[in-house]
Amino acid sequence: MSQKTPLYQSHLKASAKMVDFAGWEMPIHYGSQITEHQIVRTDAGMFDVSHMTVVDVSGVDSSAYLRYLLANDIAKLSTEGKALYSCMLNQSGGIVDDLIVYWLGGADYRVVINSATREKDIGWLNQHVGDFSDLSLKERDDIAMIAVQGPQAIEKTLSLFDQGSRAVIESLGRFFGTTVGDYFVARTGYTGEDGFELLMPNAMAAECWQQLLDAGVKPCGLGARDTLRLEAGMSLYGTDMDETTSPLISGLSWTLAMQDERDFIGKQALLEEKSNGVKQQLVGLLLKDKGVLRNHLKVITDKGEGEITSGSYSPTLSQSIALARIPSGVSGEVEVEVRNKHLKADIVKFPFVRQGEPCVTNGSMSNE
C-alpha cells in the first residue's frame, strides 16, 4: 500500500504524472521535466519533499550522541539554526545514509534523512542510543516539507509571510533554518539554487502549496529534482553511495571531520582505508560524443574500469553529464561503453552548474 503526502490532491490538480518512489506516490513531472528544470534555474519552482523523514533529537546527551553517530562534527554548529550535511557510517565506513542536521538551539537538533532508507535509519538511530541515557528521538511524521528553489524563490516565498516574519526570513543566512510561526524555514535545498525548504504541519501543506502557486512558483517533479541535483554535483543516496562505499570514494571527503580525538562510528575503517591508499574516486564526466550517459554504464580508463553512478542529460549544458566511480589517479579523457560503442568523455570537477551558471567549459572548470 503506497503512501501519499498531504499534497497528493494538489499534485493531481496540477496534472502530475505520479509514480511510486520508495513506497510513496510522488509526482515525477507535471508535463515536461526539462521545462521544470529550467524554471528552477531561471525563476522559482517547488517540490513536494514531504516523503522525507524528519527526526527531532533532544536531551542532554543529544550532542554527544550525534557526535558519535555522524562522520561530520555537529560541534561545528556554533550558531543557532545552522545546518550541517553529514554521512552516517557503519563500522566498516560504508554510508548508512546522508542527512542534514539543524541545530535548533540548546540540546535540540532536527535531522532530515532520506525516505527510501527510513526504516533502516530509524533502526540505526535507536540501536545506538545505548549509554546516552538522556536522549529523546522523535519522528515527525506530522510535518510536511516543500522545497522552493530558484533565483526568484526567496522573493516569491516571502510574499506568503507578514512583515515581521519576512524580516526574520530575509536575515537567514545560507544553510540556516529558523522557526517562523508554524513553519520551520531553512535556506537549504538540493538543486544548486538559492531558496528555502519549508517545513510545516501536514494540515497546512495544501494551503501553503496554493499560496506558492498564487505567488507564481511552479510545481516541479522528482524528475527535474534529479537532473538539478546532478548538475549541482550533489550525490544521491542509493545511487552514488551506499553501505558498501565510504565517503572517501564517494566524493564526500569534505564532509568528514576526523582530525581531532573525536571517535565516531566508522572512523577506524576510514583511517585504515586512507592508510592503505584510497583506491577509487568519484568524478564528474562530461560526454563529448552524442548520446546520454546512464547509471551503471562501464567506464574504461588507463588504470582499469569504473562505473557511472548517476548519468543523465544536463538541460543547462545541453550535453550529457554523469558522476562516475573510477580508479584513483585517473584524469583527462575516459571512454564509456554505451550499447557496445565507446563514447569519449572528459573528467571534470563538479558541480557542473551552480546558481544557473555552467561551471564546466570544454572539460575545465571556469570558476577555479
Binding site: H29, S32, I34, G223, V292, Y313, R339
Partner: protein, 129 residues
Amino acid sequence: MSNVPSELKFLSSHEWVLIEDDIATVGVSDHAQELLGDLVFVELPDEGDSVSAGDSVGVIESVKAASDTYAPLSGEIVEINSELEDSPERINDDPYGDGWMYKIKMEDADEVDNLLDADSYADSIAEDE
C-alpha cells in the same frame, strides 16, 4: 488518452508507419513519446542502409530512459529526418508530423499485413493508460 490516428499502422514496440505506394514513413507513437518524456537524443539509421523487419535500427533517448527503435518493414532507408539530430523534441511536439524519423522503400508489401492497425494498437496500449 494518447492520439492513435486511424490511417496509420503500428508495431507493438510503438513505431507508427504511414504507407504511401512503396514508401513507408516511420516514427514513434504519441503514447511512446508520452511514456519517455522529453527527448534529448535520437539516433537514426543511415540513408542507403538495408534493413529487415524487426531489426534494431536506432535509439531514442529521453532524460530518463533510452529505447531502441525497430524497423517495421524490410527495405532500404531512402530518407532520414536529419532535423531530429538537433531538435529531438520535435518527436514530443508532433510525433505524427515533424517528428517522423525515416522512410523505407519497401521490398515486400506483404509484410504490411504483419503490422497492427490503429484499433489493435490502441487496445494494446490501453492497459498502460
